[in-house]
Symmetry: C2
Subunit: 243 residues, 2 copies
């Protein structure tokens, strides 16, 4: 039977979601646990990668099992084997046609910016950005990204990789809580470093270093050389995968 | 001139305050930075040790410098050299008779217990304790510790070490915020694991496993074999040293 699982993880403890030749990945840990329960080597398929340092709140993966085990029993068994940096939030049976990556309709990310005092206990969980920010400009900047665009300029993957770089942004806004800016972004899909480059560009607009109109130019340029901004992974959370 | 410094640090990144043959200590990092500025090997004297995993919010240390440098300049210079897991909060000149350890009158610790849902992003910064707790019993338990007692039973140091084990507890209470219990404890001084063993015992009273009256018996026993309870360092913060 096929199972769909939702998982949260602390990205600061891993080299990222995806298996790597060196370093510990979230996928590796989960495959170890699932394989032990399945009593056979089992691959798990994530909705997509998250980079080193990026956190999971609602990452989704699927896997197959020869056993008829209830969702709740899966959650308990997996969590008892997984390190405390990874917690399975939900497991439910799905149709065999379900694929964590290809069935995904949209993804929602959150990015947490600390615009106040540095908090050493949260250095892995938020981005410290103490510059003075004009929130109106950030809002304008977010809106420039809404809708369907070719994100070639906001894709760190080399040009030789042939891929459709058109994506749709359905939502991109933020709320302010105690000197923290919490961005929410929902889109049809995201290219390499795309969320972080978008956030970095919006924050640069907030500082006044660039104007929001520049974003439309950058998008239209479809040129990887226009992008100069990126931001640390610490503040980024994959919040939800929508099917 | 002599300087008194206040420092915050993330205990999860260190083997503790004190220099150790293996592993990185807070003291080692600070001595490295101070020595570089002083242009000579300089020792720093803490108000006391904190164990591996225990955090600093207001740990205090003193050191001497041949230079006349302003407090604010010290803060800036030290923080530029220290890792982001250690932040100097304050530096001020003091009389040459000041000693971070021997001049201390009382110390205040905080202990954070998460009695709700496990939060994987806070596993190093709070103690996850999901058992059902009777807060009234915990309050009674805290009160049993108030005043002057011989804390032999609550001192993990071996008996052969001759030391006065009498300490006075001036304050021991807690507040509840969103399923979290935040203990505050202020005393004339604390022996090895003493705070953690006190908290662990109070929580055991909260679960109903032991009665608050038992605490008075344990104190009166002055016997290291009566203590069976300890609790992880993650939730413990040295909040303030009072002079």
């Amino acid at each position: 039977m096929r199972l769909k699982a939702t998982v949260a993880y602390d990205g600061s403890a891993f080299v990222g979601w995806q298996k790597q030749p060196n370093g510990n990945s979230v996928q590796t840990e989960i495959e170890k646990a699932v394989s032990l329960i399945n009593k056979e080597k089992t691959r798990v398929f994530g909705s997509g990668r998250t980079d080193a340092g990026v956190h999971g709140l609602g990452q989704v993966f699927h896997f197959d099992s020869p056993f008829e085990i209830q969702g709740k029993a899966w959650i308990k068994a997996l969590n008892s084997m997984l390190p405390l940096t990874i917690r399975i939030v939900d497991v439910e049976p799905v149709d065999d046609s379900f694929h964590a990556r290809y069935s995904a309709k949209t993804k929602t990310y959150e990015y947490r910016v600390n615009n106040g005092e540095y908090d050493l206990f949260k250095r892995e969980y938020e981005c410290y950005y103490p510059e003075k920010l004009d929130l109106g400009k950030i809002e304008e900047a977010c809106q420039r990204f809404l809708g369907e665009h070719d994100f070639t300029s906001f894709n760190a993957t080399k040009l030789e990789v042939i891929e459709n770089q058109v994506r749709t942004i359905y939502r991109f806004d933020f709320e302010v809580i105690d000197n923290h800016i919490i961005f929410t972004i929902c889109g049809s899909g995201f290219l390499k470093y795309m969320v972080r480059m978008m956030i970095a560009t919006c924050l640069k607009c907030g500082t006044g270093k660039i104007k929001p109109e520049k974003i439309t130019e950058m998008l239209e340029a479809k040129d990887k050389d226009v992008m100069q901004y990126n931001i640390e992974p610490n503040g980024l959370y994959l919040k939800k995968v929508n099917y």
